[in-house]
């Protein structure tokens, strides 16, 4: 185990953490405000990757592909919310788990019909194919650095939006006490559609970023969905700050664990971490409603 490998793996961990944060920020708000479990969040991640890959192929440009795919994913998210999820708010968690599980089955099959069952290729963006020398002797892929930067910028933007704008304030208030915000005259339905669209956009964006380094395939949303759920539970449901801390924590634990621990234990490590957190702090590290 040498130092340069550790540095590279830590960077990979932070980068996975950024992805997880993009996924969990939207999901934790949906969870926190409307008390809705949305397992189909991973499908939006998958759709984001497929849309971007398709638009990239059509336009020949990665940036244009992302720019076109982003509104498409947000639109799908809003459609899902209006058509199905809106009816599930006053159902119990069991119904929500089932309905959104059914949506995963639907979207996986839809993608397999539209794009075919085999994995889809997505090219690295032009000019980011090489590596960058971070420290003497330590080279790191430029595209992964770009993901880190993009994730950081989005995280900062989200922080500003949630903490410093009026809509963000309403969202935070909604996460803490939905009925009270509704009673004060805020259109909670519209607010939620907005939050859901935002969450869908973030999940889709994470999928677009992941597209060129992972394979764009059916089921890609499910593995990251489980990690995202772990992040949300550890961070505390409804807390964006908690999601950020937990995402980085999980990203590093998972990636560095794979180098330092035996494989079976490494795959289990994050679930052990989650069980431990739930055992000692059943409400997560940063409970939202305090």
């Amino acid at each position: 185990m040498n130092a340069s490998l550790l540095i590279v793996q830590t960077l990979n961990g932070v980068q996975l953490g950024m992805m997880l944060f993009l996924m969990s920020a939207g999901l934790t708000l949906v969870f926190g405000i409307m008390n809705l479990i949305n397992l189909a969040h991973g499908s939006l991640y998958m759709l984001g990757a497929y849309f971007a890959a398709t638009f990239q192929k059509m336009t020949g440009s990665f940036l244009l592909g992302v720019a076109l795919a982003l509104p498409a994913v947000v639109l799908v998210g809003i459609l899902i919310e209006v058509a199905v999820l809106r009816r599930l708010y006053d159902h119990d968690h069991l119904d929500q788990v089932l309905a959104t599980f059914a949506m995963i089955l639907f979207f996986n099959e839809l993608v397999s019909i539209l794009w075919g069952p085999q994995a889809y290729f997505m090219a690295l963006p032009e000019g980011l194919g090489g590596t960058v020398e971070l420290l003497p002797g330590i080279r790191y892929p430029a595209y992964r650095l770009a993901i880190l930067a993009a994730g950081g910028v989005v995280a900062l933007g989200l922080w500003y939006f949630i903490m410093r704008t009026r809509v963000g304030m309403l969202i935070r208030a909604g996460a803490a006490n939905r009925e009270m915000v509704g009673a004060l005259g805020v259109n909670i339905r519209l607010l939620f559609t907005l939050v859901f669209g935002l969450g869908a956009g973030l999940a889709g964006f994470a999928g677009m970023m992941a597209g060129p380094i992972l394979s764009v395939e059916i089921g890609m949303g499910e593995s990251i969905l489980i990690l995202t759920l772990v992040v949300i539970i550890i961070g505390g449901i409804g807390s964006v700050r908690g999601a950020f801390v937990a995402a980085i924590l999980i990203g590093i634990t998972d990636t560095v664990g794979r180098v330092m621990l035996p494989p079976a234990l490494a795959s289990m490590s994050i679930y052990i971490l989650m069980a431990a957190v739930l055992f000692w702090r059943p409400q997560g590290l940063f409970p939202a409603a305090t």
Partner: protein, 314 residues
């Protein structure tokens, strides 16, 4: 069912169904025997989930873990030369019961969403643990080229004999579940589902009751795993994948949770739909997804609820 046993309509229907199922091997079509075996095994697994879900109100998204522990115990013992029913079955049921004890003892400290998520997390742990067993096939799983034996030349290698064992197991499990649900213990469990705080105030140690229920359910699912390993002759981590837990959950809801016949009907419906629809199109899930959403939104009580319109509460 208080001592004076009367042969009612329900017993008649039960007997009729059991006889009908017992007649399936006489159709002389091995494919149907195999399909019916699969349905009954998943019926048993869904029934065990319903004990905690429908009667106990504990929404577990990790029930496939116990199915997997049962199957893996069977497979690992097989690869170490142990095939006797008298050792393998108690060992597998004991292992899955023990797993349920540990998982339940930790998970039941939480409630609601957190309980759903922590059961999912434990199932993932067991998934990766089994996928990491390199000596037993790792990701690919392991084959089991002959089935368990009773000793004295009696084995399960004949599919029809295995089918009757599975059918017998389900009938026994159904009877035991009925006794359990109608017992004082069952009433306490249902009371906890309705209002746990109140049950605790009356003086019931609710945590212990829930834990015992969880262990019984896990052990029964483990037995379904034993049967599944014997039927398939193949054990892989795919058995424990979280979508499998989701499917078992779907079976219970589709059939009608909080009833004993519901989960078995649900398993039959889902597996038959898979079999029939996949004959028409490989993309049958595109219909299943929206159908499930409709069942969740409008079909309160599942198939049993639909058939009885609320007259029957188990």
């Amino acid at each position: 069912m208080k001592g004076d046993f009367r042969f009612g309509k329900r017993h008649g229907a039960f007997l009729f169904t059991a006889l009908l199922l017992a007649a399936i091997p006489f159709m002389g079509e091995p494919f149907y025997v195999r399909l019916a075996s699969r349905i009954l095994i998943y019926g048993l697994c869904a029934l065990s989930l319903d004990l905690i879900l429908g009667y106990g109100g504990m929404v577990s998204l990790g029930h496939a873990a116990f199915l997997g522990v049962g199957a893996y115990t069977t497979g690992i013992l097989f690869h170490n030369g142990v095939q006797s029913v008298w050792i393998v079955w108690p060992a597998a049921v004991g292992m899955s019961g023990a797993a349920a004890l540990v998982i339940g003892a930790i998970s039941l400290r939480t409630a609601g969403v957190y309980f759903i998520m922590i059961t999912l997390a434990f199932a993932q742990m067991i998934f990766y643990f089994c996928a990491g067993l390199e000596a037993y096939g790792g990701d690919d799983g392991m084959a089991m080229w002959s089935r368990n034996t009773f000793g004295g030349g009696l084995d399960l290698d004949s599919p029809v004999r295995l089918y009757y064992i599975i059918l017998g197991a389900l009938v026994v499990a159904f009877y035991l579940s009925r006794r359990l649900v109608d017992s004082r213990f069952g009433r306490v469990i249902r009371g906890i589902r309705e209002n746990e705080g109140r049950m605790r105030s009356i003086g019931y140690p609710t945590f212990q009751y829930k834990l015992v229920c969880f262990v019984i359910s896990g052990a029964a699912a483990g037995f379904a795993g034993v049967l599944l390993a014997n039927l398939n002759g193949y054990i892989s981590p795919a058995l424990i994948h979280w979508t499998r837990s989701g499917e078992i959950l779907v079976m219970v809801i589709l059939g009608g949770m909080g009833t004993l016949i519901g989960p078995i009907l649900g398993a039959a419906c889902l597996l038959l739909a898979e079999e029939i629809l996949s004959g028409f199109t490989q993309h049958w899930m595109i219909f299943l997804g929206p159908l499930l959403i409709l069942v969740v939104l409008f079909g309160r009580g599942g198939l049993v609820g639909l058939a009885t319109r609320g007259r029957y509460r188990g």
